[in-house]
Subunit: 308 residues, 2 copies
């Protein structure tokens, strides 16, 4: 059994590669839900959907999120009513959000809803998508213009504003979703996906008991840095780390995971950091981490499992 933690496009690409090489071994994916948002009354879980869509082979690969071939007629009509349209909701994608919102109102948990969506969209049987928690948790960022939802910062503002602080609303009350601690306990290897350490992996580690479970896990815990040549391929990892007063480096990310991480996988462009990572008591493993296509993602996953 393998368990992976993460969220976002980088994680989804890596997981697609991993899934291609593990045969029937069970893969649990503990997914960040702190970038969930309610938009026009619909509850949207971007990281969960991006990973499900990718692993079901229906993601829009060009954008990295959403459904391939989707149309946007409803969104345009919502705009006609003066509603915000900066969050891109495709017509078929909307069905996922309508279903999630409707089931949530009926009292189903995020875990139950996620399982249903995954099964209906054709997720392979040996994969479990586990939201990190069934509690409602949201990442907000504090900027000089006030506090805004992380999605507003990322999608609407396109990261054009400095972030001084990140708050994960509701995280204090968040318990791990069913199966999360068991997955961590029973896996032979745990992978921290190449995801943003502040807003994708960070919230997962703050859910009550997860960090402790990782510390006590007997699994080999391997992290993959989302930085290549010291910068993220997409997303605001560097901006957020800088804003929080952190050095932007794979070594710094390894430090954030120091209490539980065994191995840090870094890109060949960052090989100069290998020694420094070793010095904080974490093995380093240098490999090409750029996942330009599915084959490259598969090669990265193969290299990673070779560490064992």
């Amino acid at each position: 059994m393998i368990t992976a933690l993460g969220g976002g496009v980088g994680a989804s690409k890596f997981l697609e590669g991993l899934l291609a090489i593990i045969g029937q071994e069970h893969l649990n994916v503990v997914v960040n839900t702190a970038d969930d948002i309610t938009f026009s009354g619909l509850r949207i879980s971007p990281d969960v959907d991006t990973i499900i869509y990718r692993l079901c082979g229906i993601v829009d690969k060009q954008k990295g999120w959403g459904l391939k071939g989707d149309t946007f007629h409803c969104l345009k009509a919502l705009g006609g009513f003066g509603l915000d349209t900066w969050f891109n909701l495709g017509d078929r994608d909307l069905a996922t959000h309508i279903l999630r919102t409707s089931l949530k109102q009926k009292g189903f948990t995020s875990s139950e809803i996620t399982s249903k969506i995954a099964a209906d969209l054709g997720l392979p049987d040996n994969v479990s998508i586990l939201p990190m928690t069934d509690a409602d948790v949201e990442t907000w960022v504090v900027t000089c213009e006030g506090e805004i939802h992380f999605q507003e910062y990322l999608v609407k503002r396109k990261m054009d504003i400095e972030v001084n602080r990140v708050t994960i609303r509701g995280i204090d009350q968040a318990e791990p979703a069913p199966g999360v601690l068991e997955a961590i306990k029973e896996s032979r290897v745990i992978i921290i996906c190449p995801s943003n350490p502040i807003i994708s992996v960070g919230p997962i580690l703050q859910v009550h008991g997860i960090r402790k479970a990782l510390e006590f896990s007997e699994a080999k815990i391997i992290g993959i840095s989302p930085l290549i040549g010291g910068v993220p391929l997409r997303g605001p990892a560097d901006r957020l780390m800088k804003g929080l007063g952190l050095r932007v480096s794979s070594t710094q990310i390894a430090r954030l995971y120091q209490d539980f991480l065994d191995v840090m996988v870094i890109d060949t462009k960052d090989s100069s950091e290998a020694q420094e990572i070793n010095e904080i008591g974490i093995e380093s493993f240098v490999v090409n981490t750029l996942m330009a296509d599915r084959e490259k993602a598969r090669a990265l996953a193969t290299a990673l499992l070779s560490i064992l």
Copy 2:
């Protein structure tokens, strides 16, 4: 000032004709909301939407409801999740329902939401669409297979089952929406649209105070029978009347409105009923009521106003 009461495709076609001939005179439309339904968590108000879409010139004229040129990608995807898809929700039409549901959750009333939708879609300034009530009211029909929502009977079952009784859930607590009683009081003419007397006009008349306001109104009150040659053009008026033990005739419909109606407009095919209607103390007016196109609807409206 003119006020019309009704709901459904027949009403919307007539109102389009009426609007074309009244110049700048104000037209209030008191619309049935008892066929509202919650579908996949979205609150849908079919009669309100059908009339707004028609008067804004964006209705699908072939079907009589929905938006012209709409697509159905989201509905198909909802079907993939095993959700009911018998209620036809177009992608652009969905925006109306998402807006309504979202505003309702924020505490806005049906009246406020209806006004916003109408204004945003371009309803002419001299028309007010007034839901009959801001309370949640739903028509259910009692059949030999149990009680089902009216929309399930109409759309899913295609009226293939006998109805023994109609119950309007929530009607006891329903007060008229703001403006409804004033509209009735201040109008020079009140028109009962060619709508189903049981499930379109019936619920409006059961809202607390509306029937009494009609009785005391000084306006000329003119009803248009939805029957042509003794049968409705579409919808279950005949089946429901039969199921309730009523005779299916324009005279019977006139009887249902007897306490407030001044004139009953009937089709030339039903001219034999004119005498009988006169005998119950209601004037009859015989004219061609088939609204095959906008011009015919306009001609019907012109004939109706000529009664004054």
